[in-house]
C-alpha cells in the first residue's frame, strides 16, 4: 500500500495547483480506458469562477497566464486573448486607482479612528493608575498592586492586531518612555520563552532609537556579570541605566495563554513591582469574570484592573460600509445579493472586519481582472473610442441591460434610437460614453435619497440594510416597502415636524462626510424653499394655536377619534366620534400632506439593475467569493467521489447518475460502498463486494491481481482523505471516520 502512495508521480500536482481539479493518471499499463482517455481540461469550474454570469464571451484563458512585458502584470488578455494591451493596461490602472488610491487608505483611517476612544481611555488609565495606587497608600501591599487593563475585544482576536499596534504606539510615546511588549500565546508557550520575549522586546525597542554601544549593556549587568536571557535582573539593569521604570506588557489573546503561565508571570511581575513598574494589558474575548475564574484568587488580588470596551464590531462595520461600499468614492458598486451575503457572514460567522475588507478587495480584483467591460469605469480622459474594440461592442450588445434598454425604447416608440443602438457602432459608443455621467448622477441621487431618509429617522433599521434594499428595489416612498415611513411621519406632532424639517435642511446643507457627500443646497433650491415654507407655516400655526389655547393636531393623530359611551335604557352604546378639527388643525394636516408629498418626490431612486450598462459597475456574483473565502473541502471531496463523471467527463460513465458503476474509479466505487456500511467496515467483505463488481465474472473482467492492486490503492486513498482509519477493535476491520 505504502509503495503505491509513494509513487513519484503523485507529487506532480504542485505544478498544476492553479487548476480546479487534478486528475491523477499513473503511467501504469493496466489503466482502464476512462483514465487513459485524453484528459479533458477542467474548464467548467475554473471558468465559472472567473466569468460574469451574464457575459458569455468574457471567458478568460485562465491557464495561459502570460507575464506580458507591458507591465500589466498578471492581468490577462480577455476576449480569448484578443483584448488590446491598452485596454488591459487601462483595466489595471483603473483597479489600482479605484482600490489602492481611493479606498484602502480610507478604510485604514476609519478603522484607526474607531479605536481612538479605547486608546484614550486605556492611556489615561495607565498613567493615572500609578498615581492612584500610591495615593491609596494605606500599606505597601496595596501600592504594590499591578495596574491591569482588560480590553474586551470580542472573539475575533485576529482583527484586534491593529488595536494593539495603536496601543503600542500611543503608550510608548517618547514623553512617557514606557516600553510596550506585545505577547501572543503562540510566541510564549512557557515561562522562559515569555520572559525572553519580554526582555528582548523591551530592550530592543529602545536600542533602536539610541546608539549602538548601548546594546552591549543588555546582557551584561553593572558588575560585569552576564544575565541569563530570561532574568528580569537584566531588564532591570537596562532600565535603570536609562532611568525609566515602566514596562507595559500586552497579552493579546489572554484566553489562549495557559492559566498556569499567566499566574506565574503575574506573581513574578508582582515580586519585581517595586523596581520595575509593570503594567499589564489583557485582550479578552469573552468576559472578565471568566478570565478571573481562571486565575488563582491570590494572583487575582494582585491586579488592580479596569475594563475597557472596544467599539462594537457592528458599528465598525457600519462605518467601513459607509465609507468604502456606499460612499461616493467607491468606484465599483457591490451588488445586493453579494453584499447581503457578506453582511450575513459578518453576523453569523466568526469573521472579523478584516474578512469583510478582503472580500471587498477580492470583489474589486475579480471585476477588473475578469470583466473586460470594467474599462468603462476609467476616468473620462482615458477612455476613448479607439480603445473600444469590436469585441467590447459585441459584449455590450449581449448584455441583459442592453436588451432591456432597447426593448424599453422600442416600447417608448424611439425606434430610431433602438435601431442605431443595434446597428450603428459609433452611435452605441457615444451612448456608452454618456453613461459615465449617468452613473454618477444615479449614485448621487441614490446617496442623497438615502441620506435624507436616514436623517428623518422615520425608517427603522440600519443603514446597511437600507442601502442593500435600495439597490434591489430602489427608493420609493410610495411603495409597499416604505409605507411605514409616512405612517410614522403623519403621527408626528407640530414640534417634531419642525425639528424634522430643520434636520433635513441641515442634511442638505452639510451633506454627509461619512459618505463623502457634499452639501447640495445649490442644486436643491426648490426643495429647500418648499421645506422652509412648510416650516414657517407650521410655526405660525403653532403660535396661533397657542393663542387660542387649543393644542394643534392633525386628522392623522390618534386623538382625532373619540370613543363615546352613552347609556340608553340600561344598554351601553359605544360610538366613534370624530373630533372636530379647527381651521388651524386642517391647515396643519395640509402641511403634513405637503411635506409627505415633497418627500416622496425628492426621496426617490430607481433600482440599480434597471440602469443601462449597470453590468460594468455593479458586481454581484457570489460564487467566486464563496469559493475563495468559504471553501468546503469535505463537500467537494464527497461530491467528486460520488459523481466522478461530472469531473472526468468520460464516455463510459455518462449513463450513471450518481449510482454505482463498475467503470467508475476504484476510490469512487469504494466510497459508494462505504456509504452503506456501519461504523466498522470489514475489509474482506468490502473486497468481495468490490471484486464481485469488477471481477472475472463481471463486465469489466479484471483478474484478481490487478483488481486487488486497485482495491488497495483506493483504500489507501480513502484513508489519506480521512474517511477510514485503522481500527483497534477488530484486526481485519477499518473504522469509519465520517459521520456526515
Amino acid at each position: 500500500m505504502a509503495e503505491v502512495e509513494e509513487d513519484p508521480n503523485a507529487f506532480a500536482f504542485q505544478e498544476d495547483d492553479h487548476r480546479g481539479a487534478y486528475i491523477f493518471t499513473a503511467s501504469h499499463p493496466a489503466e482502464n480506458q476512462a483514465a487513459s482517455a485524453p484528459q479533458p481540461s477542467k474548464r467548467r469550474r475554473v471558468s465559472g469562477k472567473k466569468r460574469k454570469s451574464n457575459m458569455p464571451d468574457a471567458t478568460p484563458v485562465g491557464e495561459e497566464l502570460s507575464d506580458s512585458d507591458n507591465g500589466s502584470g498578471l492581468f490577462v488578455s480577455l476576449f480569448s486573448g484578443s483584448e488590446s494591451k491598452e485596454a488591459i493596461e487601462l483595466r489595471r490602472r483603473t483597479f489600482e486607482k479605484g482600490w489602492g488610491d481611493l479606498l484602502e487608505g480610507r478604510i485604514q483611517r476609519v478603522l484607526r479612528e474607531a479605536n481612538q476612544n479605547t486608546l484614550d481611555e486605556v492611556g489615561s488609565f495607565m498613567w493615572d493608575a500609578e498615581a492612584k495606587l500610591t495615593a491609596d497608600g494605606e500599606g505597601a501591599s496595596i501600592s504594590k498592586k499591578i495596574p491591569a487593563g482588560f480590553i474586551i475585544t470580542g472573539p475575533n482576536i485576529a482583527s484586534q492586531d491593529l488595536l494593539f499596534e495603536q496601543l503600542a504606539e500611543t503608550l510608548s510615546d517618547a514623553k512617557r518612555a514606557a516600553r510596550v511588549v506585545r505577547l501572543r500565546s503562540a510566541g510564549a508557550p512557557n515561562l522562559k520563552a515569555a520572559l525572553k520575549k519580554i526582555i528582548n522586546d523591551a530592550t530592543a525597542s529602545l536600542s533602536e532609537r539610541s546608539e549602538d554601544d548601548d546594546i552591549a549593556e543588555v546582557s551584561v549587568g553593572e558588575d560585569g556579570r552576564k544575565h541569563l536571557n530570561y532574568d528580569l535582573e537584566g531588564l532591570y539593569a537596562f532600565l535603570k541605566a536609562r532611568e525609566s521604570r515602566r514596562v507595559i506588557i500586552a497579552f493579546e489573546d489572554s484566553e489562549a495563554f495557559d492559566s498556569g503561565l499567566l499566574t506565574d508571570l503575574i506573581v513574578l511581575f508582582h515580586s519585581w513591582q517595586g523596581r520595575i513598574q509593570f503594567s499589564l494589558l489583557f485582550g479578552i474575548a469573552t468576559s472578565v469574570d471568566l478570565f478571573q475564574a481562571r486565575l488563582l484568587k491570590s494572583t487575582a488580588q494582585v491586579l488592580y484592573g479596569a475594563q475597557f470596551d472596544v467599539v462594537q464590531a457592528d458599528s465598525v462595520l457600519e462605518s467601513v460600509f459607509r465609507s468604502a461600499v456606499a460612499g461616493s468614492q467607491a468606484l465599483l458598486r457591490l451588488g445586493p445579493s453579494l453584499l447581503q451575503n457578506l453582511l450575513e457572514r459578518q453576523k453569523d460567522q466568526v469573521a472579523g472586519i478584516h474578512v469583510f475588507i478582503s472580500s471587498l478587495k477580492y470583489a474589486y480584483m475579480c471585476h477588473f481582472y475578469a470583466n473586460p467591460l470594467s474599462v468603462l469605469l476609467a476616468d473620462d480622459g482615458l477612455l476613448d473610442r479607439k480603445l473600444l474594440q469590436p469585441e467590447h461592442i459585441e459584449a455590450i450588445r449581449s448584455l441583459g441591460s442592453f436588451r432591456e434598454h432597447v426593448e424599453a425604447s422600442v416600447e417608448a416608440r424611439q425606434l430610431n434610437h433602438a435601431q442605431s443602438l443595434l446597428d450603428d457602432d459609433e452611435y452605441l459608443i457615444s451612448q456608452i460614453l454618456q453613461q459615465r455621467q449617468k452613473r454618477l448622477d444615479y449614485l448621487t441621487e441614490l446617496l442623497r435619497s438615502l441620506h435624507l431618509l436616514t436623517t428623518t429617522g422615520l425608517r427603522p433599521g440600519s443603514f446597511t440594510d437600507l442601502y442593500v434594499s435600495a439597490l434591489v428595489n430602489g427608493v420609493d416612498l410610495l411603495s409597499e416597502d416604505f409605507s411605514n415611513v409616512f405612517d410614522s411621519a403623519r403621527k408626528l406632532g407640530p414640534g417634531e415636524i419642525i425639528s424634522l424639517i430643520t434636520s433635513l435642511l441641515n442634511a442638505i446643507q452639510a451633506g454627509s462626510p461619512d459618505l463623502d457627500l457634499q452639501g447640495w443646497e445649490s442644486d436643491a433650491d426648490e426643495l429647500v424653499t418648499a421645506l422652509s415654507g412648510i416650516q414657517d407655516k407650521v410655526e405660525t400655526l403653532v403660535t396661533r394655536a397657542k393663542q387660542s389655547g387649543q393644542p394643534l393636531k392633525s386628522k392623522y393623530s390618534a386623538q382625532g377619534k373619540i370613543l363615546r359611551t352613552t347609556v340608553v335604557a340600561q344598554k351601553v352604546q359605544l360610538s366613534h366620534d370624530s373630533a372636530t378639527l379647527t381651521d388651524e388643525d386642517k391647515a396643519f394636516t395640509k402641511a403634513i400632506d405637503d411635506l409627505t408629498e415633497l418627500l416622496s418626490t425628492n426621496i426617490y431612486c430607481p433600482p440599480a439593475n434597471s440602469l443601462f450598462l449597470h453590468e460594468a459597475w455593479l458586481y454581484n456574483s457570489k460564487s467566486p467569493y464563496r469559493d475563495v473565502f468559504v471553501p468546503r473541502p469535505g463537500t467537494t471531496f464527497e461530491r467528486a467521489l460520488s459523481r466522478p463523471h461530472d469531473y472526468l467527463n468520460c464516455s463510459c460513465c455518462a449513463k450513471v447518475d450518481g449510482t454505482l458503476a463498475a467503470t467508475m474509479p476504484t476510490a469512487s466505487i469504494l466510497y459508494h460502498m462505504y456509504l452503506e456500511t456501519g461504523s466498522l467496515v470489514n475489509v474482506s467483505d468490502l473486497w468481495s463486494a468490490y471484486y464481485a463488481l469488477v471481477g472475472d465474472e463481471s463486465d469489466m473482467g479484471l483478474d484478481e491481481r490487478s483488481a486487488l492492486f486497485r482495491f488497495y490503492r483506493a483504500l489507501a486513498e480513502l484513508r489519506l482523505m480521512g474517511f477510514v482509519k485503522q481500527s483497534k477493535k477488530k484486526a481485519d476491520h477499518v473504522a469509519k471516520l465520517k459521520w456526515l
Partner: protein
C-alpha cells in the same frame, strides 16, 4: 567586656525591632540568637509559618540592623537574601545567589557563570572559605520562599543545606511555608515558627496605627472605638476568611468609614458600640471585601446590583459568611449573556452542540437527533430520581450528568450533532449551507483559542487541530450554556437525557 563566650547582640537593636514588629518579640530574639556569631550560630535555620507572618520582613530588618551595628571589635555579619520566586530555573537561583554574595562582599572578580550546585559550592568556597576573614566573621545566606522554587531537582534543598558543612562561617536560612519532616536530610536543623497572630495580637497591631480622629468625637473615643471595632471585624471576618494581617487590615480600613457613618451623621454616639454594630451589620456580611475581584477601577453598575442581590439573598439565608454558590450563579448569568452577545451565531450553535456532545451519552444520540421517527420521544431532562418511591432511595444514587464534569467527545460526533440541530435551531441562518465549510472550522478554532472548547487526550500539542477523530471537551458550565441557548431561543434542558 566581650570576653564572655556567649553574647547577644545589642539589646537596643532588638527592642527597636520589636517595636516595629509588634507581637514578634520571641521570634526576633530566637532569630538573633541563632544568627549572631557570638551567641549560638547554627549552620542551617528554617523559618516557617503561613503567609504574612513577618518571616521575610523580620529577617531582612534584623540582618540589616546587625550588619550596621558597629560595635568595637564585635562580630561582623554579612548577608545576602535571594527571593526564589524571581528565579525561573535552578541555574537562575545559583546565579542569583552568587551575584548577591558578590554584591554583599564587594568581591572584585565576579564569576561569569554558575550553572550547577557544584559550581556554586566552588564559587562560595572561593569567596568565603579561602579568603582570610576575621575570626568572628559570619555570612548569612537567606533563601526566601525556597519551597516554591520552580524546576527544583529533589537534591537541591539537601545540597544547599550542606553548603555550611564545608563553609563554616556560613549560615543558610530557609524561609518556607511549612517544612515537611526532615526535608533538608540533615540530622539537626534549628527551626523557628512564625505562628499566625491571635486575636489580641491582631487587635494590638491594628491599635498601633489608629485612623484620624472623627470630627464629632474625642481622640480617646476614636482610639477606643477603633480597638473594639477591630475586635468585631476579627470575629466577623478574620476568623473565617481574612486570616492574614494585610487582609484583616484591608477589611478594617474598608469598613471603618461605613461603620462610623452613623457617628458622623449624628444618629449614634461613639459609645454606642452595639448599636453601631447592628447598623453596620450588612457591611460586615459583604463578601466583596474578601474577594474584591480584578476589576477595581470602574466597576460596572449592573454587575454591582447583581452582587448586592446575591448579598441580600445571603442575609436571608442566615448570613453565613462562607462564600455561597448563589452569588457565583448570579455572576454567571451576567457573563453568559455577555458571551451570547459577543459570539456569532455559528459559534454559539457549535458551543451548544459541544455541550450536548459532552453531556449526553452516545447511545442516546439516535433518540435525540434522528429525524427518522417524527414523533420524537424525548425525555425531558432534569433529575428524575425517587419519584413515587415514597422517598426510598435506590441503591445507586445517580447524579445528574450536568452536575458531573464534561465528558470528552469525538469531534466528528459533535459536528454530526451540530449538523442535526442547526436546521432546527437556526432556521434562517442555515442558508449558509453545509456543516463542513471553512467557516465552521474557523469557529471551532476560535472557540478552541478562547478555551471554551478544549482538546483532550494524548498528543494534544502536536496533533492536527482539525483531525476529526480528535477528542474534545466543552469548557463552560451549565449556567452559561442555558443563557446561550436562550439567546437563540433554545431550551437546552430539553435536549439532555439523563
Amino acid at each position: 567586656m566581650n570576653n564572655s563566650l556567649f553574647q547577644l547582640p545589642n539589646e537596643l537593636v532588638l527592642t527597636t525591632l520589636a517595636q516595629i514588629f509588634p507581637c514578634r518579640d520571641s521570634q526576633i530574639r530566637a532569630l538573633a540568637t541563632l544568627l549572631y556569631p557570638t551567641a549560638a550560630p547554627c549552620q542551617n535555620l528554617v523559618l516557617y509559618g503561613t503567609e504574612a507572618t513577618g518571616k521575610t520582613a523580620i529577617t531582612t530588618a534584623l540582618l540589616e540592623a546587625l550588619e550596621n551595628e558597629r560595635a568595637e571589635d564585635g562580630p561582623t555579619i554579612k548577608s545576602a537574601i535571594v527571593n526564589s520566586i524571581e528565579c525561573i530555573t535552578a541555574r537562575h537561583l545559583f546565579e542569583s545567589i552568587v551575584s548577591k554574595v558578590v554584591h554583599a562582599l564587594r568581591w572584585e572578580s565576579p564569576p561569569s557563570r554558575c550553572e550547577t550546585i557544584s559550581q556554586l559550592m566552588v564559587e562560595l568556597s572561593k569567596m568565603l572559605k579561602y579568603t582570610p576573614r576575621p575570626d568572628n566573621f559570619h555570612f548569612v545566606l537567606v533563601l526566601d520562599g525556597i519551597d516554591r522554587q520552580r524546576d527544583m531537582p529533589a537534591t537541591l534543598l539537601p545540597a544547599l543545606a550542606r553548603l555550611s558543612e564545608t563553609i563554616l562561617c556560613l549560615t543558610t536560612v530557609f524561609i518556607v511555608t511549612s517544612p515537611p519532616a526532615n526535608f533538608l536530610r540533615t540530622p539537626f536543623v534549628a527551626q523557628i515558627q512564625f505562628p499566625n497572630y491571635t486575636k489580641p495580637e491582631f487587635v494590638a497591631i491594628l491599635a498601633t496605627k489608629t485612623p484620624p480622629k472623627l470630627p464629632t468625637t474625642t481622640e480617646e473615643e476614636t482610639v477606643d472605638l477603633w480597638t473594639r471595632f477591630a475586635g468585631a471585624v476579627h470575629d466577623a471576618l478574620a476568623r473565617s476568611a481574612a486570616r492574614t494581617l494585610p487582609a484583616f487590615r484591608h477589611a478594617c480600613t474598608a469598613l471603618w468609614p461605613r461603620f462610623t457613618a452613623p457617628i458622623l451623621a449624628g444618629t449614634h454616639g461613639p459609645r454606642e458600640f452595639s448599636k453601631l454594630l447592628v447598623a453596620a451589620r450588612v457591611h460586615f456580611q459583604d463578601e466583596r471585601l474578601l474577594d474584591p475581584g480584578i476589576v477595581a477601577a470602574n466597576t460596572m453598575i449592573p454587575h454591582n446590583s447583581k452582587l448586592t442581590n446575591g448579598n441580600a439573598e445571603m442575609v436571608k439565608n442566615g448570613g453565613s459568611l462562607v462564600k455561597q454558590p448563589g452569588t457565583r450563579d448570579h455572576q454567571a448569568v451576567g457573563t453568559a449573556s455577555d458571551l451570547a452577545v459577543l459570539l456569532p451565531t455559528t459559534a454559539r450553535l457549535l458551543l451548544l452542540a459541544a455541550y450536548l456532545a459532552s453531556h449526553n451519552t452516545t447511545r442516546h444520540d439516535l433518540t435525540l437527533f434522528s429525524t427518522h421517527h417524527h414523533g420524537r420521544k424525548r425525555r425531558r431532562g432534569g433529575l428524575s430520581l425517587g419519584v413515587g418511591r415514597g422517598g426510598r432511595r435506590s441503591k445507586h444514587r445517580k447524579i445528574a450528568r450536568k452536575l458531573l464534569g464534561a465528558h470528552a467527545f469525538v469531534l466528528e460526533r459533535m459536528l454530526a450533532i451540530f449538523a442535526a440541530v442547526r436546521r432546527e435551531w437556526d432556521a434562517k441562518g442555515a442558508a449558509g449551507g453545509d456543516a463542513m465549510d471553512s467557516d465552521v472550522g474557523m469557529a471551532i478554532a476560535t472557540l478552541a483559542s478562547l478555551r471554551l472548547l478544549v482538546r483532550v487526550g494524548a498528543g494534544v500539542a502536536g496533533a492536527d487541530p482539525m483531525d476529526r477523530g480528535g477528542k474534545w471537551r466543552v469548557n463552560i458550565g451549565w449556567e452559561m450554556v442555558r443563557g446561550l441557548g436562550r439567546s437563540i431561543g433554545v431550551e437546552v434542558e430539553e435536549w439532555l437525557i439523563e
